[in-house]
């Protein structure tokens, strides 16, 4: 039996021929400089992940113009940026919903009801893990251990942890998202 090989993260076509490069404000440029100053001058590439987070925050996800910018800023090839971006689960190479609900699925959370939390999100939002709502407001994912086992079950939205979850708490959090009162880590 043969199996069709498909890469996990196929590159968008425009990634190969970037026509434009992202431009950032002087404040963001200064922030990027601060990150670069942590590493030896000839080792700028070390800042690749911190800079990817900045691009994501500014542009919603790591888009081709953002990738072109990083390659230029760090003095590496565009393919080097994609190589790294596709390895790390927190780097989004495709757009995600405005609020990305990431429910921990690993053992401690699982035995304390993570499945119930995910199911509740699915019912409430009408999307399964890996999907985004039609209005682009919510994405749902099941993620691996986030180091919150003592306060399980839990999920992460943006950079914030929501712990000791119950379906009622999830309802409340989703309402707060709808009211724009939850930080999503993106500008």
């Amino acid at each position: 039996m043969s199996q069709q090989f498909t890469p996990n993260n196929p590159l968008p076509q425009e990634a190969k021929t970037p026509s434009q490069m992202a431009v950032f404000s002087p404040e963001v440029e200064a922030e990027i400089d601060r990150h670069l100053s942590k590493y030896p001058a000839e080792r700028k590439r070390s800042a690749i992940l911190p800079l990817m987070f900045i691009v994501q925050r500014e542009r919603g996800y790591l888009d081709p113009p953002g990738v072109a910018y990083l390659a230029d800023r760090l003095g590496v090839r565009i393919t080097d940026i994609w190589e790294v971006a596709t390895f790390y689960s927190m780097i989004n190479t495709k757009p995600v919903g405005r609020y990305h609900l990431q429910v921990c699925r690993t053992l401690s959370c699982k035995i304390l009801g993570a499945g119930r939390i995910t199911k509740h999100c699915t019912e409430k939002l009408g999307i399964k893990p890996g999907e985004t709502t039609a209005d682009g407001q919510f994405s749902l994912s099941e993620v691996e251990c986030l180091g919150s086992c003592g306060t399980a079950p839990m999920m992460q939205i943006g950079f914030d942890y929501y712990e000791n979850l119950t379906p009622e708490k999830v309802d409340e959090i989703i309402e707060r998202c709808r009211g724009g009162q939850v930080s999503n880590g993106v500008r």
């Binding site: 911190p50 927190m90 009801g113 691996e144 086992c149 950079f159």
Partner: protein, 434 residues
């Protein structure tokens, strides 16, 4: 959630419950930066390494390698810069102690990193923190700036000739980056693939320079070792497992939390059934994974009435390992087939793809576990799974492969009934909480 010490005076958790515990002011009121002062006032780098050797401190990230020995492998005559890297990529399922150490007492970590840097002749120390712990990176950045303005970080620390910078660095979601050489690749801006050893990081680590990578809990033990002396620290624990250990406890216990215990704490049954408040809803204990998900699972029968001592030797004798010290406690409702399936899915997701046994092996294991879960289990599947594990264990490029195989092998060995039930398609498995 409980945070505190049982059976000893708190060392690493001494300040965590104080108001404003993360501020420099509170840290200094409670002995903060006195160890660094003692070091700069009259200890040579070798003196520091010797105290750490005498303390019998062993790496708390999982491998348990003696810290003083690790430090002594760094060549003194190397003309290259040397680096200290703190491994705060805490991602082992069931482990969350480093998170609270950094959240509540960031200066303790900074002081530990500085003392390590002094001992190794390093002028730069990086704290590689998992990307999901963004709020901890912000706490650390704030603490570093506070320490800098008080003269503890930067040029000529406390008026001495010792200068050292401390930097934070963010990961971006990859369990494998907790492996020290994968962490170094990630810190260099590459994919987090592990490197071939040797050379070990002590000789060729970050940017090819001599580097020591230590876990958060390991480094935060250092200030107390210097203050009380290595020997006194060792005596808090046992001969081969010095000092105290911080354990994370989660799952079906009434009082989950972060517990500091003396090494050799007696015993595991008392710890779970009394200190952690026993099993929730009055249920029976079924199993414990005591060292983060990568260690052998222990059935209740190997714990209750067995007087299991909580240190490196005690847990090995009882059939498991200290690992990262992450207790996952499971009650009688948990189906060990299901819990093992949950973990192998974790390892499949986190396998970095570099070597074939781990990449392909974990993928096939997940396929087989999923087929069994669909009710298509075959009587010889347990043997098939064990054969697959045998082809991963000891044959993968880095320990992630072993970490994937061990929980499965021990689960089949210790809970054959839970597997057998699924391998007989005619018998419906009981409903469980997993």
């Amino acid at each position: 959630m409980f945070i505190g010490a049982i059976g000893c005076e708190p060392l690493q958790l001494a300040r965590v419950n104080l108001e404003n515990s993360r501020s420099l002011e509170v840290y200094r009121q409670h002995g903060g930066y006195e160890a660094l002062k003692k070091v700069l006032d009259g200890m040579s780098p070798d003196d520091v390494i010797n105290e750490v050797k005498k303390s019998v401190l062993r790496g708390r990230g999982g491998a348990g390698f003696p810290t003083g020995m690790k430090w002594s492998f760094v060549p003194k005559d190397s003309p290259k810069p040397k680096y200290v890297v703190c491994n705060a990529d805490e991602s082992e399922p069931g482990t969350f102690k480093d998170r609270y150490l950094m959240e509540r007492d960031p200066h303790m970590l900074i002081e530990g990193m500085l003392i390590a840097a002094y001992a190794l002749g390093s002028r730069a120390a990086y704290c590689y923190t998992r990307g999901e712990y963004r709020y901890l990176i912000e706490i650390m950045d704030q603490a570093i700036e506070e320490a800098r303005s008080a003269g503890f970080v930067g040029e000529k620390i406390m008026g001495s000739d010792f200068s050292c910078e401390v930097y934070t660095h963010s990961g971006a979601g990859a369990y494998i980056c907790g492996e020290e050489t994968a962490l170094l690749n990630s810190l260099e801006g590459l994919r987090g693939h592990p490197r071939m050893k040797p050379p070990f990081p002590a000789v060729a680590g970050l940017y090819g320079c001599p580097t020591v990578v230590n876990n958060v809990e390991t480094l935060t033990a250092v200030p107390d070792i210097i203050k009380m002396g290595g020997e006194a620290y060792q005596k808090l624990g046992t001969e081969k497992s010095g000092g105290t250990k911080v354990w994370s406890v989660s799952g079906h216990v009434n009082r989950p939390g972060v517990y500091e215990l003396p090494m050799g704490y007696d015993d595991m049954e008392k710890f779970i059934m009394e200190d952690c408040g026993g099993i929730t809803d009055g249920k029976k204990l079924k199993a414990v994974i005591p060292g983060g998900s990568s260690v052998y699972i222990m059935p209740a029968a190997d714990i209750l009435g067995r007087d299991v001592k909580m240190d490196y030797e005690g847990l090995v004798a009882a059939g498991s390992m200290v690992g990262s010290g992450g207790f996952i406690v499971m009650d009688e409702t948990v189906d060990i087939f299901e819990s093992t399936k949950n973990l192998i899915e974790f390892y499949k997701h986190e396998s970095c793809g570099w070597c074939t046994p781990c990449r392909e092996g974990t993928d096939w294991l997940v396929k087989i576990f999923k087929r069994i879960a669909r009710g298509e289990g075959r009587p010889d599947d347990a043997q098939l799974i064990l054969d697959l594990c045998d082809n991963i264990e000891g044959k993968s490029f880095c320990p992630l492969g072993d970490a994937a195989a061990w929980p499965i092998q021990s689960a089949i060995k210790k809970f054959p009934e839970d597997f057998r039930r699924h391998l007989m398609p005619l018998v419906q498995p009981e409903t469980t909480t997993v």
